[in-house]
């Protein structure tokens, strides 16, 4: 790795991997079409595009996880052959998937070394060497990893750091991360980028898939945009020049024809008139288990209230409480009919292998049953009406799995809103959803509020909260610590979210060092 090349070798040495006109079909659709793209050492390369634009597919080709139908993948100077993840890892390319692949009952250390266990004589596992090495990697990353804690007890930020450490443990030189910040809060995301920047300065190549333009703006050195399987462009980001114009170019390349759909939905709701709007949800001094303490909250008809906070600070308990999964251990909750958009659409919101018809009516079969026999005609009619409202593909026999993340979420949102609930609880409604679908979902939530529902949006995405909510509650360590107007600054909200008392007083055990506090 440190071998010195002759003069002129520098350019090729910088290039860690390259695709040459790769094409990959998935069934009848072409997921990636003739893409040629290079990934270099020392830079953070952002890949942007709508859901289903082929970003993940392209990177999986690079990481050897699937083989191209035509075209070639080069790692270093030679072709990736055989085209397997094992070979890719052996040659220094590692990919961190969107849904982590850690073993929950193993400790962090065991996960890091899994599959690359350092063995002493006679194949005896040399745990001490492994631990030393893992510690060194964590130091290089500038993070602490609780090596002896079981992964199931760790938060999402820790899990991600473990995944990255895992890649480095295998001597990865090109680290590919698929939507690493989709599940992270802003401070966690900043911490991640601090880590990634360190790696890049050390000469690693970093590839990041992201939907978030502000991340591209702040952290990327190079940005590639994909659209419908094709690479629109790859260009370096020149921070000395007009960054806004460059980001605008990226946005419009992502959106293509849909660019900048101007609609009145972007306009925020009018400030709630204090007098109007009855209370549809009143929580008083509610405790839920060990997750939520003396939470009080009033939600009025027609308003959208945001709840901001780092995952694991009581959001889950709040959603479960409002969904009726758990009862409060203290205090009272009075709520109108409630519909919940769950945080994890793949495991809780949808039956992925069932048809859209079933998914649009999940849990509502009672309404179509007479003596237990379903009225298929009216069931079909209702499903059809809903799928058309949702804007998702209208073939009711398709499975939910076959849809992109954005369209999946549209199904979930449409179902929740079709129930004419008084209270709508939306947990991370646009997490991992592309720009266009996010706009549609925001519009749906706004129009639900206009129709007179009270909407509670629980999100780690401050931009989303600012855009939708008329006031933002901060949930930290199970308590509502503050209520802020949407005009509050990132700094202010971030500090409160982390439970940091004063601006210059970061806690020693702050989980996200490097946060923009």
């Amino acid at each position: 790795m440190a071998a010195a090349n002759g003069p002129g070798g520098e350019e090729t040495q910088l290039e860690l991997a390259r695709t040459r006109s790769v094409t990959k079909r998935c069934g009848t659709t072409v997921a990636v079409r003739a893409v040629s793209c290079a990934f270099r050492a020392g830079e953070i390369h952002a890949i942007c595009g709508e859901n289903g634009a082929g970003k993940t597919t392209l990177l999986k080709l690079v990481a050897g996880m699937s083989a191209p139908d035509s075209g070639e993948v080069f790692v270093g100077a030679s072709k990736l052959d055989p085209h397997t993840p094992k070979e890719a890892i052996a040659r220094g390319v590692a990919m961190v998937l969107q849904h982590f692949a850690l073993v929950p009952v193993f400790t962090a250390l065991e996960n890091i070394i899994l599959g690359a266990e350092p063995a002493g004589p006679l194949g005896v596992l040399d745990l001490e060497a492994a631990r030393a090495r893992a510690k060194r990697i964590a130091e290089e990353l500038g993070v602490t990893i609780p090596l002896d804690t079981r992964v199931e007890e760790l938060g999402i930020g820790d899990r991600q750091r473990i995944e990255i450490a895992r890649a480095l443990f295998r001597d990865a030189r090109l680290v590919i991360l698929d939507e690493p910040t989709a599940v992270l809060t802003k401070p966690e995301a900043s911490a991640l980028y601090t880590t990634l920047r360190r790696l890049a300065s050390d000469g690693k190549g970093i590839v990041v898939v992201t939907h978030k333009m502000d991340e591209v703006r702040r952290h990327a050195d190079v940005v590639s945009v994909m659209r419908r399987g094709e690479l629109v462009f790859t260009r370096p980001l020149d921070r000395a020049g007009d960054v806004d114009a460059q980001i605008d170019a990226v946005t419009s390349a992502i959106m293509g024809a849909v660019a900048r759909r101007s609609s009145d939905h972007d306009r925020p709701l009018p400030e709630r008139d204090e007098a109007t709007g009855e209370a549809v949800l009143v929580m008083k001094d509610v405790d839920v288990g060990r997750g939520l303490f003396s939470a009080s909250l009033t939600l009025h008809a027609g308003e959208i209230v945001g709840v901001a906070g780092v995952t694991g600070n009581g959001q889950t308990e709040l959603v479960e409480l409002l969904a009726g999964d758990v009862a409060p251990s203290r205090g009272s909750v009075v709520a109108g009919a409630t519909a919940v958009i769950r945080e994890d659409r793949q495991s809780e919101g949808l039956v992925l292998d069932a048809s859209l018809r079933d998914n649009l009516l999940l849990g509502e079969l009672d309404r179509f049953a007479r003596w237990g026999v379903l009225d298929m005609a009216s069931l079909d009619r209702e499903a059809r009406a809903r799928v058309e409202r949702s804007g998702a593909p209208s073939d009711l026999d398709r499975t939910a799995r076959s849809l992109s993340g954005g369209n999946q979420q549209k199904i979930v949102v449409t179902r929740a809103l079709a129930r004419d609930a008084k209270v709508i609880v939306a947990a991370q409604p646009t997490r991992g959803v592309d720009l266009a679908a996010s706009l549609d979902i925001h519009a749906e939530l706004v129009s639900a509020a206009r129709r007179g529902a009270g909407v509670l949006v629980i999100s780690a995405d401050l931009d989303e909260l600012r855009k939708l909510a008329t006031r933002i509650l901060i949930l930290s360590r199970g308590r509502f610590v503050a209520e802020l107007p949407p005009t509050a600054s990132d700094d202010e909200i971030g500090r409160l979210m982390l439970g940091v008392a004063g601006a210059h007083d970061p806690q020693p055990n702050d989980p996200s060092p490097g946060a923009d506090v």
Partner: protein, 354 residues
């Protein structure tokens, strides 16, 4: 596709085994065909063997849809068969057909259902894994049935119940179609096919059936939508037990006319095979039951030349091949086996790890 792989692998294994035994695969295949579908008697015997298999296959399939692996059809059927023999024989001798048969069948199904209710409630209330509890219930059923037959429910000095009343007997096929003369096939096969069709329709068109299928695919999402998942799982296992109990139509009521210890043994495990091969489809289940019925009857036809146990081996080979050829099935089987080991701490108690 998996079915093709299964049958192909079965055929290959048949040739190998027969050849290893020193017989000619070709001759044996001809003998097998003649002994089963070659004559109307043989065909009747295949239908007779397939009848309980179709009922138990349907039973296992219903549970499988909800993501439950009911290995307990064997015990459920044993208890149900005893109930059929006892209730059928205690009715007044003059009870008319339209009352006697339904009452007897209802008693059998209720017995099968209540036997399945034990693992069902253990599952729903305490989270006990159904594979383990249904297997254990099989052993208990075996012992209990023997005990009951020996101590009062059977005729003294025998291991059988008295004859059921004539009205509770399922008419033989040869009563209407003389061609089947001599075979033990009864109209129970017709009922089995009708039951299969009805249950398949119910999976699409009834609230219960549709919810079961969705629960099988993702119980968490269904629970999140406030479908009573645990209760549905209990109900599925109980319904499965009732269907397994209905298999006694083909054995107790259609064949012997009384229950004796061991009657119908093996049909419960055979049902697992039928369900795995039948893949949740009407024709799949019917053809799978016929295939395994053919193998059983064929084993008897070949018994003079090769041991009939060879057919049991074939049955196993077919199932393994099907399971290997189908990813989703592999998942079901793996999770049924791995789940209780890998995830001990879900449900009550939870995180108590020291």
């Amino acid at each position: 596709m998996p079915a093709v792989a299964g049958v192909a692998a079965g055929w290959l294994a048949f040739c190998l085994l027969v050849w290893a035994y020193g017989a000619s695969p070709r001759d044996m295949a001809v003998l097998l065909a003649e002994g089963t579908w070659g004559t109307t008697y043989g065909a009747g015997q295949v239908l007779f063997k397939a009848t309980p298999l179709l009922f138990t296959g349907l039973a296992v399939d219903l549970a499988l849809r909800a993501g439950l692996f009911n290995i307990g059809a064997e015990g459920q059927l044993a208890v149900a068969s005893l109930a059929a023999g006892v209730v059928g024989s205690r009715l007044p001798a003059s009870t008319p057909f339209v009352i006697a048969l339904p009452v007897t069948v209802a008693a059998a199904m209720a017995a099968g259902a209540s036997w399945a209710a034990v693992p069902a409630l253990l599952k729903g209330r305490l989270g006990a894994h159904e594979v383990i509890s249904t297997i254990m219930m099989n052993r208990i059923a075996e012992g209990l049935v023997g005990l009951l037959v020996a101590s009062g429910l059977g005729l003294t000095g025998t291991v059988r119940t008295p004859d059921v009343v004539p009205g509770a007997r399922m008419p033989r096929l040869d009563a209407v179609f003389p061609a089947f003369r001599g075979s033990a096939a009864s109209f129970a096969i017709v009922l089995a096919v009708i039951a299969t069709a009805l249950v398949m329709i119910a999976h699409q068109r009834s609230r219960f059936g549709r919810e079961l299928g969705l629960i099988g695919l993702n119980p968490r999402a269904m629970a999140a939508e406030k479908v009573p998942v645990k209760r549905r799982l209990e109900q599925a296992l109980i319904a499965s037990g009732a269907l397994a109990g209905a298999a006694s139509l083909g054995t107790v009521l259609g064949y012997k006319g009384y229950f004796e210890e061991g009657l119908g043994a093996g049909a419960g495990f055979g049902g697992v095979a039928v369900a795995l091969l039948g893949r949740g489809r009407f024709w799949g289940l019917v053809l799978a039951a016929l295939l395994f019925g053919t193998l059983q009857q064929g084993g008897l036809a070949l018994n003079a030349h090769v041991p009939k146990e060879l057919m049991d081996v074939l049955q196993g080979v077919v199932i393994c091949a099907v399971a290997l050829a189908d990813a989703r099935l592999r998942d079901v089987v793996t999770s049924a086996v791995v789940r209780p080991i890998a995830k001990p701490a879900t449900g009550a108690g939870g995180a108590g790890v020291t």
